[in-house]
């Protein structure tokens, strides 16, 4: 009779990294579909081409470090990074833009720090910020949404990505751009004159945000992450907008609903801010972390140079996350203060 000695833990959670990553991938689906409906196949091409590159670079990095690529590739984390970056990039981006972004994300932000679990900065957002600062023209060229302009087909999307010289697409300012540059029109007039604005936010953008909200709520229901960071982020953003909004003058910065349903707000709240590796860990820490991201997003959107600020705000707070964790350690039972201080 074999006497097996089994050490704790005796109860296993049903969650594992590959399962979590696959559910995150699944949850981006509604958002990606809505983006494809309004902006054409550009986002899908970004995701496919980026995913291919990400898997190739991940295996290369794993090989260089003497790890088995088969085991580590199965956790799908490289694919998640590629999908998140592909969604964040403007559709119809040239192939080299995606390549530079993916290389910065996978090699610089992830494997230089030791791979999944050690990266202090969100890889997808590092890739995005590197591109935004290096290639501002390509990174701010968003296609007009369906209903405002022509939506290119699949063939044109492939052409735009792999033969960018032969493709001349139509690009237009995003609603956040328009609102930032507006300094004479009342908000109500702007809404009436410009077809870029929809019912609450930007045309198309509001539905993409609602779709990402739905995906995020599903992840919340599946307990992939806790509610603290995303809710704190959305609440801080809405509160800032409500405090500054004066009912619609040209300097009002947009209503709370506009900010919640514009740009990358919902995508950032449920897919970027909730990253378990780079965010703060404790409950109180997550509240502080999320709220400060919301504050920074509003400040940079309204008073800074860049139209949207989720990537910048997330990177800045990634930097602050270890410090937040240090001062928000939960109290252990029997001790008066938290942590080991």
């Amino acid at each position: 009779m074999a006497l097996l000695r089994v050490t704790s833990p005796h109860a296993h959670g049903p969650m594992s990294t590959p399962k979590v990553m696959r559910q995150v991938l699944l949850a981006t689906l509604p958002g990606v579909l809505v983006l494809t409906h309004f902006f054409g196949f550009g986002t899908l091409v970004n995701i496919l081409w980026g995913g291919l590159l990400a898997v190739a670079l991940e295996s290369l990095a794993l090989k260089l470090r003497g790890r088995s690529p088969g085991f580590y590739l199965k956790d799908c984390s490289a694919l998640v990074t590629a999908v998140l970056l592909g969604i964040a990039l403007p559709p119809y981006a040239p192939w080299w833009l995606v390549a530079v972004g993916i290389a910065s994300a996978i090699l610089l932000a992830k494997h230089l720090y030791g791979g999944l679990g050690y990266n202090p900065f969100n890889p997808a957002m590092v890739g995005y910020v590197v591109l935004l600062i290096s290639f501002p023209v390509q990174m701010t060229a968003w296609a007009p949404p369906r209903g405002v302009g022509e939506v290119p087909g699949l063939l044109e999307a492939l052409l735009a990505c792999f033969a960018p010289a032969s493709y001349d697409g139509v690009t237009q300012a995003t609603p956040l751009d328009v609102l930032k540059q507006n300094n004479s029109l009342l908000i109500g007039d702007l809404w009436k004159d410009n077809p870029l604005f929809g019912r609450w936010g930007g045309a198309g953008w509001e539905w993409a945000n609602i779709a990402f909200l739905a995906g995020g709520l599903w992840l919340l229901y599946r307990r992939i992450f806790t509610w603290h960071a995303p809710v704190a982020f959305l609440a801080a953003l809405a509160l800032m907008a409500a405090l500054i909004y004066d009912g619609g003058s040209s300097a009002s910065g947009g209503s709370p609903l506009f900010h919640l349903l514009s740009g990358a707000t919902m995508f950032g709240a449920f897919f970027i801010v909730t990253d378990p590796v780079t965010s703060a860990v404790s409950v109180r820490g997550r509240l502080v972390y999320g709220a400060l991201i919301g504050l920074l997003v509003y400040v940079i959107r309204v008073w800074g140079n860049y139209p949207d600020a989720v990537a910048f705000a997330v990177l800045i707070m990634n930097f602050a996350a270890p410090f937040i964790d240090h001062y928000t350690q939960p109290r252990t039972y029997g001790h008066k203060t938290g942590g080991t201080r």
Binding site: L112, F121, L296, I300, N305, A309, F312, N318, P322
Partner: protein, 192 residues
């Protein structure tokens, strides 16, 4: 009036952060950021000295060098002023609070070589700040330096246990992290 000074403060702390945007004071930023506790001590000492040195060098420039027509001596006289302020601070702290002196330890004299201190003194003259503006600019620079140093120290404590590839261990990955941080701080551009 109040808005002017808050813009000056935000500008010095975030938008033109001395470490991450203007690349001044990198030596203590890399050297004293291995542990959070020492980084705290260093940032306290630097805040005090930077604010005081900013004001003192302004006074020396406008009441000594300018009346005598010796503006070209400003760099060397500022170095002297900074050394005196640091030495004076150390003496006062040692006599009045031995505990604080022990906490700050060797970092107090080290501030003499922090280029951010000399940078602030010279920038005050270049930007033609008055007395109060010099005070706020020096204080803002010090707060920005302290903020970044303390956050960086907390992050490096985490990096020390990360599975970093061997060629990148230690200072190399610290430099990469500082570079990524500098990238993120570019998001503040245009705030002031």
């Amino acid at each position: 009036m109040l808005a002017d000074y808050s813009i000056l403060l935000i500008g010095a702390i975030l938008v033109n952060n001395f470490v991450l945007v203007q690349f001044l004071g990198l030596c203590p930023f890399m050297g004293v950021s291995n542990k959070l506790e020492t980084a705290m001590g260093m940032s306290l000492a630097t805040t005090f000295v930077l604010t005081l040195a900013s004001v003192c060098s302004y006074l020396v420039f406008s009441y000594l060098l300018q009346p005598l027509g010796l503006e070209y001596l400003r760099t060397i006289s500022f170095i002297l002023v900074i050394a005196v302020v640091v030495q004076f601070t150390e003496m006062v702290v040692r006599k009045s609070s031995p505990l604080l002196h022990r906490v700050l330890g060797v970092y107090l004299p080290l501030i003499t070589t922090n280029c951010a201190v000399l940078g602030v003194a010279l920038l005050n003259i270049n930007k033609e700040h008055n007395f109060l503006q010099s005070l706020f600019y020096g204080f803002g620079a010090a707060v920005g330096f302290s903020l970044v140093l303390v956050l960086f120290a907390a992050m490096r404590e985490r990096l020390a246990v990360a599975d970093v590839p061997v060629p990148f261990k230690g200072a190399a990955i610290g430099m990469v992290t500082a570079g990524l941080m500098s990238l993120a701080f570019m998001g503040f551009a245009g705030l002031v």
